[in-house]
C-alpha cells in the first residue's frame, strides 16, 4: 500500500472515529446497495439497533442484563396493539411503544439497580419473565401464545408524499431514517457530560462515587435510555413483520441481544451492527441446513467468551489502534 493510500485511510478512520454516528449511518445507508437480500437487511438494521440499545447497559455501563427482551417486546406490543387493535397512526404508535419500553425499563430498573454486581443479571431475567407472563396472559390484547397479528402499515404518508412500504428497499430506508435518528441521539448522549460519567463509572465505580456521582441514579437513567432504544427496535420490528410473536419477550430474545453485542464488540459504537450482520447472515445460511440452531449459537457464544471477548469490531479496532 502506498504512503498516500494509507494516509488517506487513516484520515478517513480518524474522521469516522470522531463522528461515529455519521459514519455508522453512512455505512448503513450504503448497505442495501451492496447487499442484495433487502428483507434480511431490514432485520439486520433493526436487530442492530436492538443490540445498540443493549450495548448501553452492557458495553457502556458494564452491567450484564438478561431482561432486555422486556423492553424490545414491550415496544413491539405497545406499538403493535395500538395499530392492530385501535388503528392508531403509526407515528403515535411508535412513540407509545418507545414510552412503554422506557416505563418497563424504569420499573425493572427501580428494582434491579437496588442490587449489586451479579445480582443484576438474575433479577433482570426474573423480572423480564414476569413481563412475559403478564403479556402472555393478557391474551385479549396481545393474542397470547399466537401472538399479535394485523400490525399493518402498508403506506406511510409524509405530507404530500406517500411512501409504499411493500417494497423492501423503500421499507429499509424508511426504517433507516428512524434508526439513524436514534443512532444520532445515542451518539449525542454518549458525547455529553452524562456520557463522561458513564465512562467514569465503568472505569472505576468506587472512584466515581467518591467524586460525587450518584451511581444508582445514573444506572437507572442509562437503563431507561437503553430500554427506549430497544423498544424502538421492537416497535419498528412489529411494523416490519406486521406481527408480534410472544417469543419477542422471552429470554431467547434477551440472549440474542447479548450475543449480537458480544459478537460485534461491546462498548463500541458500530459493533452491534456488525454483530447483527454477521449473526443474522450466518443464521440465514445455517437454517437452510439444520434445525440444531441453538447448538450453533451456544458454541459460538462459548468460543466468543473464551477467545474473542472483544467481538469482531472490537478486535478490529484494537488491532487498528496498535
Amino acid at each position: 500500500m502506498s504512503d498516500q493510500h494509507s494516509a488517506f485511510v487513516r484520515s478517513v478512520a480518524d474522521r469516522a472515529a470522531r463522528h461515529p454516528a455519521a459514519a455508522t449511518i453512512l455505512v448503513l445507508a450504503l448497505f442495501p446497495l451492496v447487499f442484495p437480500f433487502h428483507t434480511l437487511a431490514i432485520n439486520i438494521l433493526l436487530f442492530g439497533l436492538f443490540a445498540a440499545g443493549y450495548n448501553i447497559t452492557f458495553g457502556y455501563t458494564g452491567k450484564l442484563s438478561f431482561g432486555h427482551a422486556a423492553f424490545f417486546g414491550g415496544g413491539a406490543y405497545g406499538c403493535g396493539i395500538l395499530i392492530a387493535n385501535y388503528q392508531v397512526h403509526w407515528a403515535l404508535a411508535v412513540v407509545f411503544g418507545v414510552a412503554l419500553g422506557g416505563l418497563i425499563a424504569l420499573l425493572i430498573g427501580l428494582l434491579a439497580t437496588r442490587t449489586r454486581g451479579i445480582y443484576f443479571a438474575m433479577v433482570t431475567l426474573a423480572l423480564a419473565q414476569c413481563v412475559y407472563f403478564l403479556f402472555f396472559h393478557a391474551s385479549s390484547l396481545t393474542g397470547g401464545d399466537n401472538g399479535l397479528r394485523g400490525v399493518n402499515v402498508p403506506r406511510v404518508a409524509l405530507g404530500p408524499i406517500s411512501i409504499d412500504l411493500l417494497d423492501p428497499m423503500v421499507k429499509y430506508y424508511f426504517m433507516l431514517s428512524l434508526v439513524g435518528g436514534a443512532v444520532w441521539v445515542l451518539a449525542r448522549i454518549l458525547r455529553s457530560p452524562f456520557g463522561a460519567i458513564l465512562e467514569a463509572i465503568r472505569e472505576n465505580e468506587a472512584r466515581a462515587r467518591a467524586c460525587g456521582v450518584n451511581i444508582e441514579a445514573t444506572r437507572l437513567l442509562s437503563l431507561v435510555i437503553s430500554g427506549m432504544v430497544c423498544a424502538l427496535a421492537g416497535a419498528l420490528n412489529a411494523i416490519n413483520l406486521s406481527t408480534v410473536a410472544i417469543d419477542s419477550l422471552s429470554y431467547h430474545t434477551s440472549g440474542l441481544a447479548m450475543m449480537l453485542t458480544l459478537l460485534g464488540g461491546m462498548g463500541t459504537f458500530f459493533g452491534p451492527f456488525v454483530g447483527s450482520a454477521v449473526f443474522l447472515g450466518i443464521e440465514h445460511i445455517v437454517t437452510g441446513y439444520t434445525e440444531r440452531w441453538q447448538l450453533i449459537v451456544g458454541i459460538v457464544f462459548i468460543v466468543l467468551v473464551l477467545y474473542f471477548p472483544r467481538g469482531i469490531w472490537g478486535s478490529i479496532l484494537q488491532r487498528a489502534g496498535k
Partner: protein, 250 residues
C-alpha cells in the same frame, strides 16, 4: 483544640460482627489546620477514615461537619458537601487520560445528568483540571493514560482528582506510600500549600513526616483514641511513648 473544628466525631464506634474496630472515638479536625491520624497497624485508622468520608456507616456515635450530622448521608453527597478523599491504594480511572481523570471529577460536581450538550463544550471544567494538574506537576502527562504513569505520579494524580471538587476538608490516606523521598517532599510541600485554603486530614505511617508538619495529631490504638493534641503534647505523652513512639527512631 485551637480554632473551631470543621469536622468532629462523638463516640464514633464501628463493629464488624463480633470485632470492634473503633470504639468511642471522639476527636476534632481544627479548621484550616493539618491533622494527622496515626497509630500502629490494626489501630483502626482505616475504619475511622472510611467512616468520616462516608464509606462506612458507624455502628454508633456521630460525625459533625460544619455543625451538621453526616451519619446516614450517602457517600456520593460527600463530595458536594465539601469532603473529598484520596484512596490508600491508588484508585484512578485507569483507561482514561490523566486530564480526563481530573476533568470528569470536576464535571461530576457540576453536571451529571446533562445528556445533550457536548462535554468538551464546557471548557471551564477542562481549564480547572489543567490548573490542578499544574499544581501536582502532571500537566506534561495530560494526554497519557492514567495507567501508564509511574506509581508516585499516580499518587499525585489521586490528589489532583480529590481536589477537583474544591473540598473544604481534604482527607488523604497515606498519600506518600511507596514514594521516593524526593516525591514525598514534593507532596508534603503541596499539602502545606493547600492548607492556605482548606483543612486537611492525613493518615500516615511515616512518623517523622507527620510530627514535623502537623498542627494536630490523633493517635489511635486498638480502635480507641489514645491521645489527641499538638505534636509537642503527643511527644511528651507517656502512654503514646509507651505504645508507639518508644519504638520509633528519632
Amino acid at each position: 483544640m485551637n480554632g473551631s473544628a470543621i469536622l468532629s466525631t462523638r463516640g464514633l464506634t464501628r463493629h464488624f460482627g463480633g470485632f470492634v474496630a473503633n470504639r468511642d472515638v471522639s476527636v476534632s479536625f481544627p479548621q484550616g489546620k493539618l491533622t494527622a491520624i496515626i497509630g500502629p497497624n490494626g489501630a483502626g485508622k482505616s475504619t475511622f477514615f472510611n467512616m468520616i468520608c462516608g464509606g462506612l456507616k458507624p455502628t454508633a456515635g456521630d460525625i459533625l461537619f460544619e455543625g451538621k450530622s453526616l451519619v446516614g448521608v450517602k457517600q456520593h453527597h460527600f463530595a458536594r458537601i465539601g469532603i473529598s478523599k484520596s484512596f490508600q491504594i491508588t484508585n484512578l480511572f485507569r483507561d482514561l487520560s490523566v486530564l480526563e481523570n481530573v476533568r470528569v471529577a470536576v464535571q461530576a460536581i457540576h453536571s451529571c445528568f446533562d445528556l445533550w450538550s457536548s462535554r468538551t463544550g464546557h471548557g471551564e471544567w477542562a481549564d480547572q483540571a489543567e490548573a490542578l494538574l499544574c499544581m501536582v506537576g502532571l500537566q506534561e502527562r495530560r494526554r497519557e493514560r492514567a495507567d501508564s504513569l509511574a506509581h508516585g505520579e499516580q499518587r499525585s494524580l489521586e490528589i489532583a482528582v480529590a481536589l477537583a471538587s474544591d473540598p473544604k476538608l481534604l482527607l488523604l490516606d497515606e498519600p506518600t506510600a511507596g514514594m521516593s523521598p524526593e516525591e514525598t517532599r514534593g507532596i508534603m510541600d503541596l499539602i502545606l500549600k493547600l492548607l492556605e485554603r482548606r483543612t486537611i486530614g492525613l493518615v500516615e505511617h511515616k512518623m517523622k513526616l507527620v510530627m514535623g508538619v502537623s498542627d494536630n495529631i490523633i493517635v489511635l490504638h486498638h480502635g480507641e483514641l489514645l491521645a489527641q493534641g499538638t505534636p509537642d503534647e503527643i511527644r511528651s505523652n507517656d502512654e503514646v511513648k509507651l505504645v508507639y513512639l518508644g519504638k520509633a527512631q528519632h
